[in-house]
Every structure is written in structure tokens, then in C-alpha cells.
């Protein structure tokens, strides 16, 4: 049975329709990569699933339960966690405090401070440092660690490699591979197509708010995705 199913979801920013009629479903343990150009609606879709953005139409089912109207903080209790774009750490607090405050309010489970430090060993020497003073890669590791402290069943990762050095991106993805093999269901937004293809089991490509291509990563060619990404197949259709 699918852990998440999104049915004809529509989300707006004022008059702008950011997500138009998106439907998708995800089985436990899958990793879905959302690709698409800037402004395609990926972030708004993730925020709608997490409850941080209120959709105007459609339905979000999580583990058989309708969560469309549920506030974000209660969805965390069910096991949905979002690592927001730009990391959004509690900059004035230490790394340890950032992690502990999340651990105190999420689900109970296998993730605790020790488990997060084992997954992100680069954070160990930085536990007492202010989160705002960390490097970009360390901040991203803290942001993912903070989400893991809530013991999510579905982890939503928004642009985790944005603004990081290539080395830091490698480190973050190495840790993510560990998570994926551990069975956590993941949706990630990633601009780097090669990286998305290397970790995802499924790909969904968004264009102007709609999913224009979706399928198993193994079955989609790079060309298919590139065409969908730029809307080339649609441009070829007669007007």
C-alpha cells in the first residue's frame, strides 16, 4: 500500500497557481526525485505535503489518513518531515540544541542524537558551536539531522545541495544513501539531474506546476527527462 498519495492537488501563491492538479503516490522505501526548472512548483508541492502551505484543492493521504487539513506540527507526529530550502536552522542556538529541540517534539523511534552523529560524523566536533557559524555543508547536515530527530517515515528534502561546495554535496549524499538503504521514504528536489538519477528509484518531472513525466528511474532516459524538463515534447505538439 502506498504511504503517500497526492490527489489532484492545487496550491497557489495569491493568484499564481504554483501546483496545478498534481497526483502522485509513493510506496514505503521509495526515493522519488522531483526535477524541474525554477518556478515549476517543486518547493510548493513539498511544502503542501508537509503542511507548511495550504492547498486550495485536492487531497493528501498519508498512511491511509487524510491529512489535507492537518496543521504541519501534527503531521510531524505522523512521520512527515521537511528539510526546508535554505536550511532555516535556529542560528542562535548550538547544533546540539537544534537537534534536541526537534527530538523533543517528533515521533519516538530509532533516531536520536547518537544516531544522527553516526550518520553525520562531521557534526561531532561542532555540537557546541552556534548553528549560524557553521559552514554550508555542516549547516545542511544539521538541517537534515534536525529533521531525522523527529523520526520521519517520509522525509522531504528541498534543494539540499544548493549553495554547497561539490565536496560538501558528496558528503551529504553519502549520508543520504545510508538513509535510503535503511528504508526511509524520501522525496527530494534536486537541480542536478545526474545526482537525482543516481539516487532515486523514481523520477517525477514538473513543468509550470504540473507533473509532465513520471516513472521508474531505471526506465527513463536522460533525454526523456531533459525534454520534459524544458517542455520540448509539448512545444512539438500542434497549437
Amino acid at each position: 500500500m502506498s504511504i503517500l498519495s497526492v490527489e489532484t492537488l492545487e496550491s497557489r501563491h495569491g493568484l499564481l497557481v504554483a501546483v496545478r492538479g498534481v497526483s502522485l503516490s509513493l510506496n514505503e522505501g521509495e526515493t522519488l526525485a522531483l526535477v524541474g526548472a525554477n518556478g515549476a512548483g517543486k518547493t510548493t508541492l513539498l511544502r503542501s505535503i508537509a503542511g507548511a502551505h495550504k492547498p486550495v484543492r485536492g487531497r493528501i493521504m498519508f498512511d491511509g489518513q487524510d491529512v489535507t487539513a492537518m496543521p504541519a506540527h501534527r503531521r510531524v507526529g505522523l512521520g512527515i518531515a521537511l528539510v526546508p530550502e535554505g536550511r532555516r536552522l535556529f542560528a542562535g542556538m548550538t547544533v546540539e540544541e537544534n537537534l534536541r529541540v526537534a527530538g523533543a517534539h517528533g515521533r519516538k523511534g530509532v533516531w536520536n542524537l547518537d544516531a544522527v552523529l553516526a550518520a553525520f560524523p562531521q557534526l561531532k566536533p561542532k555540537l557546541k558551536a552556534r548553528a549560524g557559524d557553521l559552514s554550508g555543508g555542516q549547516q545542511q547536515a544539521t538541517a537534515i539531522g534536525r529533521a531525522l530527530m523527529t523520526n520521519p517515515r517520509l522525509l522531504l528534502l528541498d534543494e539540499v545541495s544548493l549553495g554547497l561546495s561539490p565536496l560538501a554535496v558528496d558528503q551529504v549524499y553519502d549520508s543520504l544513501r545510508g538513509l535510503m538503504s535503511g528504508g526511509t521514504t524520501i522525496i527530494l528536489v534536486e537541480q542536478d539531474l545526474a545526482r537525482a538519477l543516481s539516487v532515486a528509484t523514481r523520477i517525477a518531472c514538473m513543468l509550470e506546476g504540473a507533473v509532465v513525466l513520471e516513472g521508474a528511474a531505471a526506465r527513463l532516459s536522460r533525454d526523456d527527462i531533459t525534454q520534459a524538463y524544458f517542455g520540448l515534447n509539448r512545444a512539438a505538439e500542434p497549437a
Binding site: 496543521p71 510531524v76 532555516r88 542560528a91 540544541e97 534536541r100 517528533g106
Partner: protein, 308 residues
């Protein structure tokens, strides 16, 4: 010697100002709200205490220990004030915050007008005091030298201010609740993603802040007299204390209170009418220095927020 005496008395008065400013400072630090109903809420607590003592006849029941009645009354008044703070958050602050940063200033100003005039309706214009209710404690003092004395009530209020500030510091720095409050203060839009309901956190903070404000109101009523419109001056001194000490800093609040109290007493020493003007001038001078960045704290705070 008289000068030293004025400084010491001013510092003790500063303890009262620090206690008055706790609730205001805390609410601003967490929710970025300037609560203009702060003074009126303090006076409300004082009137509620008067009503409670009259209705319960507690002073007579306690006999020789009757002077303890207002302190025991705090066990009722503080929870009631906390409930009022909780309601204030859900009915006024939460709604006004959604409309932008200026609206809470206007709506809490409205609350203060309603409270002031409501208390005028209910209790009349007469001055009241809890001084008589605490007996000898209102005027007893310790003599340090022939000319230096410290009032016992002043010392008690100063100690209360220090204990409250230490307690708040400990709560925020060391406990899980404190971490939750600090996280919510920093990123109210993000904490919901880790399972925290920011409106609930704000309600808890408003409850704590208004309970502390009630404590300040009862302290005021013990050391002097008050009437339904005494909230305004209390708000002004509390506000000056917060600004002098550094916005959002709890220890700064104690220092700010002492600076204000000492300035006022030295002003009164220079000229009989100098009490208020010396306090206000000190506030203005420090405000100007802070604005121009000579004292770094405020400018550092604003620039950090601008950069975030």
C-alpha cells in the same frame, strides 16, 4: 554620605523597575510584541489582590501572621494572571500579529484603555495600597550605618527581581521548554516542521509574561499607592528599563533598572523636581548612543535580523 545613600536607594528602586520590566522584556524577546497593556495588567493584578484579600478575610484568619496574606494571595493571583495572558494571546496578540508588526502595538493600547476604564468603573478613583496589608514590612528597615538604611520590602523586591531573572535565564538556557521557546522566537515559521505548535508556545510565553507582570503589580501595590490609571507610569519606567538594559536581554533588564533608579534618585538629590527628568534624560541619552552604535548591542541585534 547622602550621595551614597541616594545611589543605594536608587539601586533598590532599580530592582523594582527590573521586576516591572520582566514581563515586557520577555514578551518582546520572544514574540517581538511591545505590550502597551503591560502597565494596566500590572494594576489589574493589584486590584485583584485587593479584592481577594477583602473577600477572603485572609489577613484576619492568619491572625499574627496576617501580613503574609498578600504573599499567599499570589498563589491565586499569579495563575489568574497567567490565564489572562493565555487568553490575551489567543484573543488579541495572535490575531493582531497576523496583520503586521504595528497592529499589536495598537491593539494592546486598546486593551490598556479598556482595562484602565474598566478598573475605574469597578473600583472608583480612590488610591489604594497593599501597604497596610503587609504590616511592619512596609516600613521596617535595616540600618547599615547611622545614616544608611535599607528598607526590608525594597530588599525583598530586589531579591525577587534577581531570582525571577535568574529563573528565566535558567529556563531559557537549560530546559527543554526554554529550547522550544528560543527556537520559536528565532524561526516561528520553521518550528512547525519539527512538531512544535508556535501558537501554543506563544500562549505559554504570554502566560508567563503576564504572570510576571502581575507580580510586578502586586510589588508596586505593596511599596506605594495606586489607582486605576497608575499603569501608564509603570509602563513607561518598564519600557525605559528594557531599552537602557538592551532589548531582549534579561540581565540587561536588571542593569537597566538599576541605572534608571540611580539616575532618578541622583536627579532628586540635585533638585527636588529632578527625579523624573533625570530618569527620562538618562533614557534618551542611552537611546541616542545606542542608535548611533556607540553601545553595540541594539545595532548588532537589528543588523543581525536584517541579514537573516
Amino acid at each position: 554620605m547622602n550621595f551614597i545613600n541616594q545611589v543605594i536607594q536608587g539601586a533598590m528602586l532599580g530592582g523594582f523597575y527590573a521586576l516591572s520590566a520582566c514581563g515586557l522584556s520577555f514578551l518582546f524577546g520572544v514574540m517581538r510584541i511591545i505590550n502597551l497593556a503591560h502597565g494596566s495588567l500590572a494594576i489589574l493584578a493589584a486590584f485583584l489582590m485587593v479584592s481577594l484579600l477583602n473577600a477572603s478575610n485572609l489577613s484576619n484568619i492568619l491572625g499574627d501572621y496576617g501580613y503574609l496574606a498578600p504573599f499567599i494571595g499570589l498563589l491565586v493571583i499569579l495563575p489568574v494572571m497567567a490565564l489572562i495572558g493565555w487568553a490575551l494571546q489567543y484573543l488579541v496578540l495572535d490575531r493582531s500579529l497576523r496583520a503586521g508588526p504595528l497592529i499589536p502595538v495598537l491593539s494592546t493600547f486598546g486593551v490598556s484603555i479598556i482595562l484602565d476604564n474598566g478598573m475605574f468603573e469597578a473600583y472608583g478613583a480612590n488610591s489604594q495600597s497593599l501597604g497596610p496589608a503587609i504590616g511592619d514590612l512596609a516600613y521596617n528597615s535595616w540600618s547599615l550605618t547611622d545614616t544608611l538604611t535599607i528598607g526590608q520590602l525594597d530588599a525583598l523586591i530586589f531579591a525577587t527581581a534577581v531570582i525571577v531573572l535568574c529563573g528565566m535565564q535558567w529556563l531559557l538556557a537549560k530546559t527543554a521548554i526554554g529550547r522550544t521557546i528560543r527556537a520559536t522566537a528565532e524561526e516561528p515559521g520553521v518550528v512547525e516542521l519539527i512538531g512544535i505548535n508556535p501558537r501554543l508556545v506563544f500562549a505559554v510565553c504570554a502566560a508567563i509574561a503576564v504572570a510576571l507582570t502581575g507580580l510586578a503589580g502586586v510589588a508596586l501595590a505593596m511599596r506605594t499607592s495606586f489607582d486605576p490609571y497608575a499603569g501608564g507610569p509603570l509602563l513607561i519606567f518598564a519600557f525605559e528599563t528594557v531599552v537602557i538594559g538592551g532589548i531582549g536581554s534579561l540581565w540587561g533588564t536588571l542593569i537597566g533598572g538599576i541605572v534608571l533608579g540611580v539616575a532618578q534618585n541622583i536627579g532628586a538629590e540635585i533638585s527636588p523636581g529632578g527625579f523624573l527628568i533625570a530618569g527620562h534624560l538618562t533614557f534618551l541619552v542611552i537611546l541616542i548612543f545606542r542608535t548611533f552604535g556607540v553601545l553595540p548591542k541594539l545595532s548588532a541585534l537589528t543588523s543581525r535580523r536584517a541579514a537573516a
